[in-house]
Symmetry: C2
Subunit: 224 residues, 2 copies
């Protein structure tokens, strides 16, 4: 377990119910999970029905952001101010026990509840999109063909405060009861990691351009 | 693009709206994404608010399943028969373009809508839990300490038919407009793959037990 369990749940709704000892409410734990995950789902209610759409998120300070086309059904719905649940999960591996019942997984997840706000100021939008780009590709924004007014206008950026959020984190080995320990089957952890593959340049890319620096997703932050 | 685009959306709700050319409705495409992904989110409406909880899913035939403790708030809510949206996403890598605007990602996602059903027959539950275990760890179920009645009773298994589902798949390189092609920045794909790490046996594990076979998550199925 990497997260402090000292902080309290910010609301009854955000409180982790099942396996509450895995719950974490301190912002450092929440931020670390959000920053390690590439994708989230944004769940919202459309015509009374739940819809959860995958998209990329990023965090700047006390808010988490996502973006997309102004034509997107999800973003138009989000912009109206209905409640959403932003969920991220990083899968860290399988935990194999002696019984099926005690099998589990190591993971880090965050749920964040609230009403999203639309970012309208073009300078603020630019700053935020730059933060997203540079989070995964440090320094890349400054090397790109600059964003223009039309592109900025075609992009919606939404934000959610992190004040109703919780993390759930599971790490470590199997929890078999003592009576199962002699069962003759392999038990332990099989880690799963996200690895960057070899970059595949676009056909016709000019020679001599430096390969981008890319931050591997899913990394566990160094112990604080 | 790996999926056939010949099938039609099963409902207006499940139809892919944004970037509709990435939508796929044929079952082979949907099944392949569900089978490659470890985790889903189950989005449902609780007291009028959207909640999306991460959990493991697995598919058997025409249904997708998830499980958990009978004490789980999510599973108890699901069992009442309210609508859910099951979402899975496999992240396959970054697509780096010459402009921020044209950056994108390769991914495979599925959304499946419907009202879950509780599996109540113990023999059916056992068969389904075995299918889940053996999907990721082929042959492991038969080597485990057998599941007992108490464990089976403490486990809820829920299912959702796949008849209101759609997939969205993006693959391939950057789509820069011709006017950007000479911008002097690296462009191309940086794949991200899920890799199994070295198995970490439980402390005190007996020597001579065979390491489990584990299927790597996220694999793209061989071309059909």
């Amino acid at each position: 377990m990497t997260a402090s369990r000292t902080a309290r749940a910010p609301s009854a709704f955000a409180r982790v119910r099942r396996l509450a000892d895995r719950g974490a409410y301190d912002r450092a734990a929440i931020d670390a999970v959000l920053d390690a995950a590439t994708l989230c789902t944004i769940a919202h209610v459309v015509e009374g029905r739940p819809v959860a759409t995958p998209t990329f998120h990023w965090r700047v300070g006390d808010r988490v952001y996502w973006h997309g086309s102004v034509a997107s059904r999800m973003l138009r719905t989000n912009a109206v101010g209905g409640e959403v649940c932003l969920t991220v999960t990083v899968f860290d591996g399988w935990v194999l026990a002696r019984s099926a019942f005690n099998h589990t997984a190591n993971y880090r997840s965050v749920l964040c509840f609230g009403r999203p706000e639309l970012v309208t100021d073009p300078a603020e939008k630019t700053r935020l999109l730059r933060a997203f780009t540079d989070h995964w590709f440090p320094g890349r924004w400054g090397a790109l063909r600059p964003i223009n007014r039309k592109e900025l206008g075609a992009t919606s950026v939404l934000s959610l405060p992190l004040d109703e959020a919780s993390a759930k984190i599971r790490s470590g080995g199997a929890d078999d009861p003592v009576r199962d320990l002699d069962w003759p089957v392999w038990a332990g952890v099989v880690p799963v990691n996200q690895k960057l593959g070899r970059p595949q340049p676009e056909p016709g890319l000019k020679r001599g351009l430096r390969r981008p620096r890319v931050v591997p997703p899913g990394r566990v932050p160094k112990a604080r």
